[in-house]
């Protein structure tokens, strides 16, 4: 008891020192910037210092002990486990994506906020205490233990690996984006550089190393997210409380949005995009003929330029125009469809952005367009909330964190600490979206093209798909529809948009890096532990030494990490699209199997296996048949294949009831209650103090 108290006091002291050190370092770097420290050195410091700090913790926590490696020795107190879970949870999707989606999709994006926080209530009541009571190492391990068979373990393993792999690809891509921004390198190189940062935290120490680096990462990402929000609030309204600042800005934003919607020049630009959309639609009616005409026109133009002795600049422009012609019909169809959809969006009022401050009486959800053309309905909103909540409560890399606490009681309180850590950021994300919308509409739109802020050129040079400006009406003034911003970069660009010191820009990038690293670490470890512990060693007929098992897990971490990095460089989909697919899979497979396993003694091995398989099959079918990216890959028109108008990002809402129904039905057929009675009673047994 005494050593426990001493251990905790030591933790609190070290944590306080670390937080104070972070504050001092940030203040110190701000002073150095004011004294003229070059920006490259500041960027390098904020790229390297966090990684060195995390690597130091990772190396200090290195271990070959199985309990330390898999479950951090079951010695992590609730507050720190909660903070680590919060860091594990606050991925690139939360740190970068949530504000972006609220900016671009308006109030319908609040489904993510509600879904990702409400899911923790389900974890608290239905999952966490029972996982800790069982005292296993992984989620498939629990399924094998509860159902007394390898089949639920194997199905659970496949689902865990699929779910976590999709999620980790999104995180590693986010790491690449941030490293590229800090270093100026390409995203592909950034991905593999960032991978190094991921591995130094997780490779040597396993769950023990990952836990304590996640505690450190949370501090950085919290400061990195909150500081720009507070500074922007002060800048715009003089009030440091973001919620109050947003309430003050909303009426002004509403008036500005109405003015821009009726502005003559905005309407002129919108009509240009409408004509462009019409042109692309005509081109798409006969792709082969149009492609041949485009190619021959570009070739004729190049030949004419060469024949007339045009300047080098004219020749280069003609060659670029020829190179820009799609190589074949398939590429032409994809490119012109994307261009047509983009033009359609930009031809709408506010360039397709939903209003942040609509008048009363309007349906805030149902009026907003969505990226795949489907209508946003209340049914879709509710379905997405349900899917995200169940997915949260089934996410393997979060659930496995509850094995690391000393007791069931600490596991319960970990959820409270985790939710507190997450809610602090989440309630500020809508505020940031409102403040950024004001900055862009009020501070950038309407400026002369020659006087646009530097951040537009910087991001456009890094990657034109992130920020682009085109003067379609030739008036040398930026209209809203002429500006295109990828929502994923908004948080990273906030300090630049708000004219803050460069240190804050680098701090936000470091925060995003911490968010991506923390989640990627947790996911990689979950995949590797599941593959080694559940696929090989739990089923091995011969007992394998713990140090060998740990070594095998470390090797698998490396292999999975490099494969995920390769897939990330392919940039198959946006971060949020990948993440919501992972949630759908978890919602339709792991969540129902865990809950039924605890709350219904009748659930048995064949029911659990069949239920997870059926839930997965339905969810994957719906994703393949309705997800815009997957439909495009299959050459199908975007926007079709929806059931009751529910979008693909809520696919799990169909898999979940199927999983439950199949589990119940098959379990009733193969009823074997005797073993389950004792085991489930043991899981439900109250924990003595």
């Amino acid at each position: 008891m005494l050593s426990q108290a001493r251990y905790r006091r030591g933790l609190h002291r070290n944590f306080a020192i670390y937080v104070a050190a972070c504050g001092l370092v940030i203040a110190g770097m701000m002073a150095l910037e004011r004294m003229g420290m070059p920006h490259q050195w500041i960027a390098l410091f904020f790229l390297l210092a966090p990684v060195v700090a995390f690597a130091t913790i990772g190396i200090y926590c290195r271990t070959s002990n199985a309990t330390d490696y898999y479950v951090a020795g079951r010695a992590v107190p609730a507050p720190y486990n909660g903070i680590a879970i919060a860091a594990d949870w606050l991925s690139v999707a939360s740190f970068l994506g949530l504000t972006g989606i609220l900016y671009a999709s308006g109030y319908s994006g609040l489904a993510y906020l509600v879904g990702w926080t409400g899911g923790f209530c389900l974890i608290a009541m239905y999952v966490a205490p029972f996982l800790r009571k069982a005292g296993q190492y992984t989620i498939p391990d629990f399924l094998g233990y509860r159902y007394g068979s390898h089949w639920p373990r194997i199905v659970g393993l496949a689902v865990c690996v699929l779910c976590c792999f999709v999620y980790v690809v999104a995180q590693i891509y986010g790491v690449g984006l941030i490293v590229a921004r800090l270093t100026g390198m390409s995203i592909e190189i950034g991905v593999f550089l960032g991978l190094g940062g991921v591995l130094v935290c997780s490779f040597l120490g396993g769950m023990r190393g990952v836990t304590w680096t996640q505690v450190a990462q949370y501090v950085i990402l919290l400061i990195a997210f909150m500081l720009p929000v507070v500074l922007l609030s002060v800048q715009q309204t003089g009030v440091p409380v973001p919620q109050v600042a947003a309430a003050m800005q909303l009426p002004k934003l509403s008036a500005l949005e109405v003015r821009l919607s009726h502005d003559e020049r905005e309407q002129q630009v919108r009509s240009v995009f409408a004509a462009q959309a019409q042109r692309y639609a005509v081109m798409l009616e006969d792709v082969d003929t149009t492609l041949a005409e485009e190619r021959s026109a570009a070739l004729r133009h190049l030949e004419a330029t060469l024949a007339s002795g045009g300047s080098m600049e004219d020749i280069r422009a003609a060659k670029r125009a020829l190179a820009a012609v799609p190589v074949d019909s398939e590429a032409a169809r994809k490119a012109w469809t994307r261009a047509r959809d983009d033009s359609v969006l930009r031809s709408q009022p506010l360039a397709g952005l939903p209003t942040q401050a609509p008048a009363n009486g309007t349906s805030l959800i149902e009026d907003e367009p969505s990226s795949d053309g489907a209508r946003n309905t209340t049914l879709n909103f509710v379905a997405l909330i349900l899917c995200l909540m169940a997915g949260t409560a089934g996410m393997p890399h979060v659930l496995s964190r509850f094995y690391t606490t000393p007791s069931v009681r600490e596991a319960r309180w970990s959820v409270v600490w985790a939710l507190a850590g997450i809610a602090v950021l989440y309630i500020c994300a809508p505020i940031l979206a409102v403040l950024l919308r004001w900055e862009v509409l009020n501070g950038v739109v309407g400026l002369p093209m020659a006087q646009l802020p530097q951040w537009i050129a910087d991001w456009s040079n890094l990657d034109p798909t992130l920020v682009s400006v085109t003067d379609v009406n030739g008036d040398q003034i930026l209209q809203l529809a002429e500006l295109k911003i990828n929502p994923d970069i908004l948080v990273l660009a906030t300090p630049e948009i708000g004219g803050m010191p460069f240190v804050v820009t680098c701090l936000v990038a470091a925060g995003g890096l911490s968010a991506a690293l923390s989640t990627a670490d947790g996911l990689l470890l979950t995949i590797a532990n599941a593959l080694t512990h559940d696929l090989f060693f739990a089923r091995a007929k011969v007992q394998v030494r713990a140090s060998r098992r740990v070594a095998a897990s470390k090797i698998v971490v490396l292999v999975v990490a490099f494969f995920a990095a390769y897939v990330a460089t392919l940039q198959l989909a946006e971060i949020l699209a990948l993440v919501t697919a992972a949630f759908s899979i978890a919602a339709a497979t792991i969540f129902p199997a865990l809950v039924l396993g605890v709350y219904w003694k009748g659930s048995e091995k064949w029911g659990a296996s069949a239920g997870m398989s059926a839930g997965l099959a339905v969810t994957l079918y719906y994703l393949l048949s309705s997800h815009p990216v997957l439909r495009e890959l299959r050459g199908l028109p975007v926007g079709g294949g929806l059931w009751w108008g529910i979008q693909a990002n809520a696919a799990g809402v169909f898999g979940l009831p199927v999983a439950v129904a199949v589990n119940v039905f098959v379990s009733l057929i193969f009823a074997h209650r005797a073993r389950a009675e004792t085991l489930v009673d043991e899981l439900r047994r109250p924990e003595p103090r």
Binding site: L364, R412, V415, L419, Y426, I427, P688, R689
Partner: protein
């Protein structure tokens, strides 16, 4: 002892059922209200409730579960030894 464990589980299930109802109300009532708002309630306020108040209420629900489940464990935990 079995009786005590059954009593514990019944109380625990009642606690979970009650908090699940609260969770469902916080999660699903606001979006339904946002569409069918009564005249005295602005849809913008409903959306701001979702954005700012709902996460805090979820935290309260999680806290309530941890607090009362701990009390149940303290009450019945010795009986389960």
């Amino acid at each position: 002892m079995q009786l005590a464990l059954r009593r514990h589980w019944r109380k625990h299930s009642a606690l979970v059922a009650l908090l699940t109802l609260a969770w469902a109300a916080v999660s699903f009532m606001p979006p339904l209200l946002a569409v069918a708002v009564p005249p005295w309630l602005e849809s913008r306020r409903v959306m701001w409730f979702i954005a700012e108040v709902a996460p805090v209420l979820f935290l309260v629900i999680a806290w309530a579960y941890a607090h009362f489940a701990d009390k149940l464990d303290a009450e019945y935990g010795e009986d389960s030894r």
